[in-house]
Amino acid sequence: MKERAIQFGPERRLIGILSLPETVDPSLPAIIVPNTGVEHRVGPNRLHIRLCRAFARLGFVSLRMDMSGMGDSGLPPDGGRGDPVSDMQAAMEQLQRMKLASKFIPVGLCSGGNDAHLLARVDDRVVAAAFIDHYQYRTPRAFFIQLAQKLSDPRRIGNFLRRKWAELSGKPRTEYDPNLVNFFEQPSRGQFLGDLERFMRRRMALFFLYTGENQNVYNYADQLYDVCPRLRDYPLQSLHYVPRCDHTFTHEEMRAQLIAVLERWLTTHILKREDEDEIDVVESANDPGGDLPQDFPAFSPLPGKMLSR
């Protein structure tokens, strides 16, 4: 495995670290890992480094990169904030120029998952994508699980009463809530379902992993299938719920668990599939059709919080 730093994009203002396997196979898709939140390309607890080195061991080229204005990447000279899709497309073009790959797999955690999703929506060079703790939608079952969790835990009842008492007393909320930082806004449920439908029509391999950290929104194994029942029967998907992992994979064993499931997914859905048939695009991702197929489930209008990490 070799690593190499590259600068690319307009004015070469974006930076990323390439992890290269001993032998590069340009017919394999390359993996792009955008930075997460405000943490630069190394990822929380060096998670992205571990991931990319594991990908290289499997034979994949990967690039972990800083998006515009993050880590060591500059902002556009026009004073704008930069655009994650343009940033990742600049990375893809760079890897194509270097003849390392022509197909791509974005793998993103949290805001990186959002970036991966936005890229997959518009660029048909994306043949697979892995989303880790990205968009989450509450279902009736999740609502009742959370309610039961709260009612069965005297500590949380106490928290609730203290919070209400503080609100009634007019005290400003000062307690630490690790979920309070906003890094992206998730799309409406309808838009999300439409995107998934298009991803499935393009025969993209899809990986979803949810940790146990956002219990108030996502709290059981099949929740995504309840949000999108068609996904359950889609053969190229892989859904994981790991309640004992937190959002930043704080402990080493959590990071090892994530790497193991991603390696399995890549082996099953990319390497073995590459052996069987060429992954190709069956429909343009630029398909603007926003209308959902008639047989999509209706949106259940439960009061839900926006995902806020």
């Binding site: 600068q7 405000v38 630069h40 607890n45 969790q149 146990g212 950290e213 219990q215």
Partner: protein
């Protein structure tokens, strides 16, 4: 800005920023802190390097062994290895820049490591110690308290069966082995006589310390000991400007 690999076998990773316009005689080696402080301040130090470059300083930022983009995955680093990393980085910066003088600019643990390196023979004519803790022991204690508070607060939102527990030998997800703890604890921000110019850069909320050298007060608080800040970036542009201007006034 130029990313580069250096040191034995290219095991260290750094980012060199060249000066805009004529170069000064002094080049600045930026020594990061560690763990959550490293992540929080990473972007700020990128921006500071740009500010220093605009004032004619060549700079090098780099990651210690077992941290950031360094090649080593084993996070059981040792103090000796980190001091050796600073020596390699200082040599690299001197060779790249051709500068006559090196200034070690160390943030938090980076300040303690920089002074340990200077005491161990790393040639530095100047040092700027940014929110240096009074000792390694105190710095470790502050991080351990943040670790405890972070888990306690996080667990308030989780059912008991999913509660997270701090692991021995780790601080906020990063390995912190006993040997490292024992060797970092006695470190202090005292500079050897070989460092001719010494500056203490103190954030608005830093505790007062009486130390040799010139104290430079910074306009913004740093919130190093505030658990609500551990997931936030720390990019006070006004602080960066004050530091860059102060060093430009005082260094050749």
């Amino acid at each position: 800005m130029e990313p580069l690999y250096f040191g034995p076998g290219g095991r260290l990773f750094g980012l060199r920023s060249e000066p805009i316009g004529p170069a000064r005689k002094t080049a600045i080696l930026i020594c990061h802190s560690w763990g959550v402080e490293y992540m929080r301040s990473y972007r700020a130090l990128f921006l500071l390097a740009q500010q220093l470059g605009a004032r004619g300083f060549e700079t090098l930022r780099f990651d210690y062994s077992g941290t950031g983009d360094a090649a080593e995955m084993n996070e059981d680093a040792t103090l000796e290895r980190w001091v050796e990393d600073i020596r390699c980085a200082a040599d690299e910066l001197r060779a790249l820049s051709g500068a006559d003088h090196i200034c070690l600019l160390g943030l938090r643990l980076g300040a303690l490591l920089a002074m340990r390196a200077a005491s161990s023979g790393v040639q530095a004519e100047a040092a700027a110690l940014w929110d240096a803790p009074e000792s390694g022991r105190r710095w470790i204690g502050e991080l351990q308290e943040l670790d405890r508070l972070h888990y306690a607060h996080k667990n308030r939102y989780l059912p008991p069966k999913l509660a997270l527990q701090p692991l021995p030998g780790e601080i906020l997800g990063r390995r912190w082995p006993e040997e490292l703890d024992a060797s970092v604890s006695p470190l202090t921000p005292l500079a050897p006589h070989s460092v001719a110019q010494l500056f203490h850069l103190r954030s608005a909320d830093a505790i007062e310390m009486s130390l040799d050298g010139e104290a430079i007060k910074l306009p913004d608080p740093a919130h190093w000991n505030d658990v609500t800040w551990i997931t936030r970036p720390w990019i006070p542009a006004s602080t960066q400007r004050v530091i860059a201007d102060a060093l430009a006034e005082r260094l050749q």
